[in-house]
Amino acid sequence: MSDYSMKDIEWAKINRDVLASLESPRKEFWIVLSVCIFLVLCGAAAEVYQYNEGLGTALMNKPHYWQLYISNFVFWIGMSHSGTLLSAILLLTHADWRKPIYRFAEAMTLFSILTAAIFPVIHLGRVWDMYWVLPYPNERGIWPNFRSPLLWDAAAITTYATSSVLFLYVGMIPDLAICRDNAKGWRKKLYTALSIGWMGRASEWMAFRKTYVLLACFLVPLAVSVHSIVASDFAMSIMPDWHITSFPPYFVAGALYSGCAAIITLFVLLRYVFKFEDYMTTEIMDKTAKLTFAIAMVWNYLNLSEYASIWYSNDMFEKEVLLEKFFGPYHWVVWGMLLCALVAPFAMAFEKVRHNMWAMFWLSLVLQLGMWLERFQIVSPPLASNHEPWTWAVVWPGLIQLTITVASFGWFTMLFLIFCKIFPSVSMYEVKEMVFHRRKASSRTDMEDLDKVKNDMIKAEEGLS
């Protein structure tokens, strides 16, 4: 595949195409958005229903009721990591193929965090008492206990959310200026305020580039730390199957894996709905799929090494929980995970699959299902079989919990689609840069080819004479 594809796109066309996506998406956009809104309403109804009927309807009277909500929390936090982390790493490594896809990947990060943030609140049950967890002067003299990994979570996620929003916003300022110059009505006012007077001056570009790289340098270690800390929520306990040294890297690899799968899903969705065929090309999908495949193999390795280390440690409790996982009441979750997240990614080894957009779309959904099951099998089986038999209980999610879980997917997709309808989901100025540099590199190669032909001709003439 040519490294110089996309070099012939005109800059004005890039503006036209991306700005058109803000005005006239395909009708499927509205269908998907309507379905998402319906799911969100179902989730809200389920939440209200449990307040009216009693929290027992949401299984809050069972000791392990929180397993599904926390599985969802870990899943969404994991998904949030890939967008910004990949965008930052690919920026620092000068991978120019990131340019058409990084904006929506960063937006995905933001909305995944917003979705994840819902679950700790919901799992409290009485959400109106949520302020009890906030640090404020109170008669009990109680302050946040920084010894708890849950508080580390709060600190890390707050830092990650704010930094990701700033990274997304700063990277979007030149594009907001383009929108400002072409918009009318309320959009004009919105873009004028958000573009803060950007005019593309040399001094602005220079400060922008420095800032963007510095933010990327911060975001890479930050993203790694956040999911390591989420892993600490489990690894710092003494529960069998949670108290594992390799949990932080395992969580980070899992987060990248599910995030990459989500990027592929949204890639195909946006490409179709907003008619971005010229920008989200097969070449970029091929590279994204290869990256996902590589990360899947890292995750596979960590997953299998976790089983091996438990098996060879010969720890009675750890081994018992491991066997329970594979042959106990949750066995189909574990086998389902292995099928979807460990076996299915091998399909990406084939070029035909990587180049088929809809095959990649369905495969990415299978991978995400596998990663969701992975989170559920991390949380649930140890609760059903651990050091203390009196806490053993196999709890399956009820209808209310499942409705709220499905609604979270609707919530995420709804926010994401609204973002893409208001803000450019493809970075116009970065695609222009990519086109500019590819065109330059292509003409340089053409010149070198011409020189080569000329030299060959001279040599041939010399030979003849």
């Binding site: 503006n15 302050w143 206990n145 580390w152 830092t159 300022i173 072409n182 593309g200 270690p221 100025y429």
Partner: protein, 178 residues
């Protein structure tokens, strides 16, 4: 006191090569006659080759980042240490560390990054001169596919700069006094 009026010429070009030519010609003109106060480039993408010709911009953003990160580290460390003290006095228990180092490291790490990011953003706003109002002569073609050259010049001698812009193939020239 009455503010001194500034006179600007704003030429729009359809090519970075032309923009580079015009910047070098204007520099020659300035060397000969000392008439130009400032030259500014407006472009739809970053272009270091032309920007270099305008001279160096002093933008020590990384210093803000560095000192911001250090401030964040110190503040976060003190926060956890202070929170540990408050727990210590309200619920006195033996065996608790006065300053709990393991968790202090985690929160300090996050604080370092958070303040580092915030101070970088502050530096970006300072050195890019944002937020600001759009200039009267700003052309929206600059955000599309054309390059703008702004020349701040004495009104009496603007003809010479205009001639340079025209010679180098300006698509459009705007002249404003403000």
């Amino acid at each position: 006191m009455r503010r001194r009026q500034k006179h600007f010429l704003f030429g729009v070009f359809d090519d970075f090569e032309k923009a580079r030519d015009v910047v070098s010609e204007l520099k020659v003109l300035d060397l000969k006659e000392k008439v130009i106060d400032n030259i500014e480039l407006y472009s739809p993408i970053e272009h270091p080759e032309v920007e270099e010709m305008l001279g160096e911009f002093h933008q020590p953003i990384q210093r803000f980042t560095f000192f911001g990160a250090i401030t964040g580290a110190v503040c976060a460390f003190l926060l956890v240490a202070a929170a540990a003290q408050s727990m210590f006095t309200v619920q006195p228990q033996g065996g608790k560390p006065v300053i709990p180092l393991p968790m202090d490291i985690v929160i300090t790490y996050e604080g370092t990054i958070m303040f580092g990011v915030y101070s970088t953003i502050v530096a970006f706003l300072i050195y890019s001169g944002l937020p600001r109002r759009l200039k009267k002569y700003y052309s929206q073609k600059v955000s599309e596919d054309q390059i703008g050259i702004e020349v701040q010049i004495e009104p009496a001698k603007s003809d010479k700069a205009r001639a340079v812009l025209e010679k180098c193939g300006a698509v459009e020239i705007r002249e404003v006094t403000q």
